[in-house]
Symmetry: C2
Subunit: 410 residues, 2 copies
């Protein structure tokens, strides 16, 4: 029998599981308090739903579940190996949410404000920081195209991070419609916009000169590149954009940014970032991302996807969501001291077997002030106490004198 977990998945030790539970329950409480409601969907979905979804690269990363019984026999004898699976593990929570909404629409309030926090699966090539089973924490508002949704999502996501004692972060906001209008005004053609965006998304890494060089390599019109390069040579403000795209186009985004700034106060920053693209193909309008001053990469991301749910319902339903990078936050907080505030000190209560009832009652009293583990007196006491100390226990006591909590040597 193999002792290790399958590749790309983790066992979590008690102290790790405790931190994960703390993160998840803190995020969930923040979201619930803000008027969002948790829903739950199965980890398995119909294979056709997964295959036909707009998942981009993720479609190559689906874990497929083998058919069973007669259906498997039939598929095997047909010789068609693409037909061996009838289900798959979900690769994100957005496809299940879209299916869920279509399946339960009659029973839901409109607009609906959803929380999803659950496991997803991707057959990634295992490497550091890339898991095949990981948790996502999403909030979504379905059924409203008002910019008040974006404001509520940004405010609530930031609140969850603040509740976890994360500070020094900035919310970047952009709107794909503005970016595309701007690129068009520079002279790029409609069918070139996606490719220009891919290069522009690298601005942080390769700088304005790098973007210009890449666009030139791609062979785009030099006047368009020149016009665009002049524009991005300096940080682009919303006012710059207003001049190019017209006031009306940017007023929605301005409303979102100004309201979010007012709500943020001095706790975190809100900035317009024209170079923010986000990878997902399904975003149709605003996109946002949260970056930390202290850690590389983003810690949350999201945007508006007004066309995705229509794939199930047949009519367009506006939707916008924001997802916290749970595994990223877990990795960051795992490195900090005492990430869980107000945790009680851990002690062991040692007793003899015949006193089990008395020990259970004594432990229940002690638990007002300590985290207490019940433990029959071990044969090798000093070895056991060393182990307690290693595991972060503060002390221990014997049942005959539970007032005498003895501190363990570090």
């Amino acid at each position: 029998m193999k002792k290790t977990t399958v590749k790309g998945t983790n066992d979590y030790l008690p102290e790790e599981a405790k931190l994960r539970d703390y993160l998840q329950s803190t995020i969930l409480k923040t979201y619930t308090d803000a008027g969002f409601e948790r829903i739950m969907t199965p980890a398995v979905e119909d294979i056709e739903n997964l295959d036909k979804s707009d998942g981009g690269d993720n479609l190559n990363l689906i874990f497929k579940i083998l058919k069973r019984g007669d259906k498997l026999d039939k598929a095997l004898s047909s010789g068609d190996s693409s037909n061996l699976a009838d289900m798959g593990l979900r690769y994100d929570l957005t496809l299940p949410l879209s299916r869920y909404f279509a399946n339960n629409r009659e029973k839901l309030l409109m607009p609906s404000k959803f929380i999803q926090t659950d496991r997803v699966y991707r057959a990634e090539r295992p490497q550091k920081g890339r898991l095949r089973e990981f948790v996502q924490c999403d909030i979504d508002i379905i059924g409203s195209s008002s910019p008040s949704c974006e404001i509520e999502l940004i405010h609530t996501t930031a609140k969850a991070l603040l509740a976890l004692d994360m500070t020094g972060f900035t919310v970047k906001v952009n709107d794909r419609r503005i970016l595309r209008a701007l690129l068009t005004s520079c002279g790029f053609e409609e069918n070139q916009l996606d490719s220009v965006c891919i290069s522009f998304d690298k601005l942080d890494k390769i700088g304005a000169d790098g973007v210009k060089a890449e666009l030139t390599d791609k062979g785009f019109d030099s006047a368009a590149i020149e016009s665009f390069s002049n524009l991005i040579a300096n940080p682009v403000t919303l006012d710059d954009v207003k001049d190019k795209c017209g006031e009306e186009a940017v007023s929605g985004l301005e409303f979102i940014i100004n309201a979010s700034k007012e709500l943020a106060g001095d706790k975190y920053g809100i900035v317009f970032d024209l170079s923010l693209v986000r990878g997902q193909g399904y975003y149709t309008g605003t996109v946002f991302e949260i970056v930390s001053d202290k850690f590389r990469g983003s810690i949350a991301g999201g945007g508006r996807y007004d066309n995705l749910i229509g794939k199930f319902t047949g009519e367009n339903i506006p939707a916008v969501g924001f997802s916290i990078g749970f595994e990223r936050i877990f990795a960051i907080l795992s490195e900090t001291d005492n990430p869980i505030p107000d945790a009680k000190k851990k002690i062991a209560l040692l007793f003899d077997k015949q006193d089990t009832v008395k020990a259970i009652r004594a432990a229940e009293k002690l638990r007002e002030h300590y985290d207490v583990i019940l433990s029959e007196k071990p044969k090798k006491l000093s070895k056991y106490l060393d182990r307690l100390s290693e595991k972060g226990y503060y002390g221990f006591c014997f049942l005959d004198n539970t007032d005498d909590i003895r501190e363990l040597k570090a």
Copy 2:
């Protein structure tokens, strides 16, 4: 695209998800407060570990995950269809726990007290009340053969049920060693004991006469059947057993039952039930089960499995566990009124888009007393209010006067 979930799995509506979260967090808090620690393992396990486990019938119910890339091509071209999967979804939490213990033993305190509450998967034939994806809530103590473990598990499991306001339940306790000794003393042979136990397990359903008839049909020795039938004609007490098996054999069980009775007081019953067998092949000693006065079937079950972990570690490690039937409890509490105590009344705060910031701030104040959903004033107000009422909302207010909470008509 298919709107429904795959067979045997469920979408949970917000109110259902809320109840499931309440159940899970209440059980988890009770277990954590009692000194148990949560661990987490992946939902996927190596296919060989699953296939070689002692899972009995469950081995036929494993969802297998198709190999990918070159490995799949190789498996397909070999023509060996038993070799197409490299992983599977876990069918219970006991096999992953055993692997986990073996994998992390060096890092764990001994004995270890574990909580697991997570999803498991079985390819059951879908039928009412049988799910293919469902939640189990287990506590286990690994590394101690002391009967104080059983006492702690029974007390803690009962506490979790009481915390959920479940009353009118009884803990049945037995020990397979006693049952087997008793059957042997009646004249059955070692290799007949499992079969006799299977018949005896039906005592509740078919009565003592039914058990006798079934044993006769099976062709066992008539003197042994007669001796056993006389014994079970009336309820069997621990004292009756003591006469037949000797005092020492029953003292451990007596200790467990007496201590558990003392801890239970008048809150729930503890009874010795000689006919309690439990299906799992891996139980080696005590077995227990909780039944309710109000609902058929068991709501929790467990026992001692001293040989299972040895399959991974190579040396015998004593272990005992108790599992709450989460889906059973969820089904029972779904039928009751107000299963979640002290839930705040739900109201909607209606506002105009330009007042989003003011509305978010007003909602945050109102949330001291109410569950508040923010909602832009809908075009069809009276239709929206009807919907709120249907969804269990108590009332609503407008942003310009949040003191005036208007109650909705039922």
